[in-house]
């Protein structure tokens, strides 16, 4: 990033190739519409280009990149009216976080057996509450640590742990259901 900020365009190409998939999936899994995801994705990278001069290597580049993506996504949800802000640092509101309406299921896609698990898992992620989904995606796509997720989302580390716990429990349940269905199918 420093090389690109110094004027080396090939440095940007390397950064983009390394992180474009994770950022795109992070946005796509939360927006549930490809067009919007593309728009947000382009906005995130344009913001990065414009902010290259002010970049300071005080944290990981990944953390800074996903912060840009997180902020752009929040701005989109605010403008579209789909976001209900709830204080997530308070443990008393954990139930409210959990009770947030799940995202609408993505459009049905042709499922093959060898991709069924992944599809079901991806579908299960989209049904997770936004906070849990975001924590799960930041951990899986961004490869961020608990502390980095906490700093990025503005919550405590324990809250991040809680969100991830709930997300994983639901996803495991979905996997068990898939295995049971597969077992029953073979029967």
């Amino acid at each position: 990033m420093l090389a690109y900020a110094a004027g080396d365009p090939s440095a940007f190409d390397a950064l983009y190739a390394r992180h474009k998939g994770g950022v795109y999936r992070y946005l796509a899994r939360q927006c549930r519409q490809a067009g919007i995801a593309d728009e947000l994705f382009q906005d995130v990278w344009m913001n990065l280009i414009r902010a290259r001069a002010s970049y300071a290597p005080t944290a990981k580049f990944t953390t800074w990149l996903y912060r840009l993506a997180h902020n752009r996504m929040i701005d989109h949800f605010r403008s579209s009216g789909h976001l209900t802000l709830v204080s997530s640092d308070d443990e008393a509101h954990e139930d409210a976080v959990v009770a947030l309406p799940a995202a609408r299921a993505s459009e049905p896609e042709p499922l093959a057996h060898n991709r069924e698990l992944g599809e079901r898992l991806r579908a299960a992620v989209t049904t997770l509450p936004p906070a849990q989904r975001e924590a799960f995606l930041l951990q899986r796509e961004g490869e961020l640590s608990l502390a980095e997720i906490a700093a990025l989302t503005g919550v405590g580390v324990e809250t991040v742990k809680s969100r991830l716990r709930y997300a994983l429990s639901k996803l495991r349940a979905e996997l068990i259901d898939l295995e049971d269905e597969a077992r029953e199918g073979r029967r």
Binding site: A6, P9, Y16, M46, R115, L117, E141, K161, S162, L168
Partner: protein
């Protein structure tokens, strides 16, 4: 395993499902925008040292200007101004006013040089005038001495020396010092007259010597061989003082005008006959240093040995 930690099964399933990529067109658009942003940005970040050539040029310019200002302008050296003679300055003051550009009190450098040259010429002419006046005084002194009683003049006849210098030898030997031979001869004649005053009468067979005023080379009146040691009976103090005066004048004149061989030898003989051995020795030493190897050939036999340590 903590519940919030990563589940390998879920991770594997998620990697299999996470193959979504942005569209190629979107990739191209973003890359192009990134390249445009870098190309259009100022080159400050690329060339951090862009200002080096300007700084170097400015530094060189400052140094050059500083050197030019520190270099003193060409001006007349103090020595030339200090050596300007008073005559030149007086002439400059009395000269008609110069042009307005130069100023009345400050003559142009070319005029100063001309005036200095003229002043030098005048100084040289003054020196030569002084020299001539001095010679005239000596001549006058010789004339006065020549007006002594006739009996003194009869004694001026000198016996021939062992090696009386002939006219031809005089002419030959006087070649290195061709200047002022007549004046030196006249002076030496006066000295010889005084020296003869102390001697006994010369052999009567000798004819009377020509008067000192004549410009002929005198006979070797002070030949050492004819000294008989007769004491001075007439005007001893005056003769001695005149001799000392003439000797000192001879030394001064020797510095200003080169001495002829004949005159020099005559002087040495006179000094020796007068008992002034040290001075005679010095004169011989000077003669030898002047003529070098030729000195022995020029000196008469009686003087050749004189002045050497063995002779003393």
């Amino acid at each position: 395993m903590n519940e919030h930690e990563r589940d390998p099964r879920i991770d594997a399933a998620w990697r299999a499902a996470s193959r979504d990529e942005p569209p190629v067109a979107l990739d191209d658009a973003i890359r192009a925008a990134a390249r445009r942003a870098v190309d259009s940005a100022p080159q400050r970040r690329r060339d951090k040292h862009w200002w080096y050539p300007f700084a170097a040029a400015a530094t060189v310019a400052v140094i050059a200007v500083g050197l030019l200002q520190l270099t003193p302008p060409e001006q007349v050296t103090p020595a030339i101004v200090a050596d300007a003679p008073k005559v030149a300055k007086q002439e400059a003051a009395s000269a008609p006013p110069q042009s307005n550009a130069i100023g009345p009190g400050t003559p142009a450098p070319v005029d100063v040089k001309k005036k200095l040259a003229a002043a030098d010429e005048r100084a040289e002419s003054a020196r030569s005038n002084e020299r001539a006046q001095k010679l005239q005084r000596q001549r006058d002194a010789a004339d006065k001495l020549s007006q002594m009683p006739a009996q003194d003049s009869a004694r001026n006849v000198a016996a021939p020396a062992e090696t009386p210098p002939s006219a031809s030898s005089f002419a030959r030997r006087s070649e290195p010092f061709p200047a002022a031979a007549p004046e030196a001869a006249r002076r030496d004649a006066a000295v010889a007259t005084e020296a003869q005053g102390r001697l006994q009468s010369a052999p009567a067979a000798e004819p009377a010597a020509p008067p000192p005023a004549a410009a002929s080379p005198p006979a070797a009146g002070v030949a050492g061989g004819t000294v008989t040691g007769a004491p001075l009976e007439e005007k001893p103090l005056r003769a001695k003082s005149a001799l000392a005066k003439d000797a000192s004048e001879a030394q001064v004149q020797a510095k200003t005008q080169p001495r002829s061989v004949e005159d020099w030898i005559k002087l040495i003989r006179e000094l020796r006959s007068a008992g002034r051995i040290d001075e005679a020795t010095k004169e011989i030493a000077a003669f030898r240093s002047a003529y070098g190897e030729r000195a022995d050939s020029l000196l008469p036999a009686d003087l050749r040995a004189f002045g050497t340590p063995a002779a003393r």
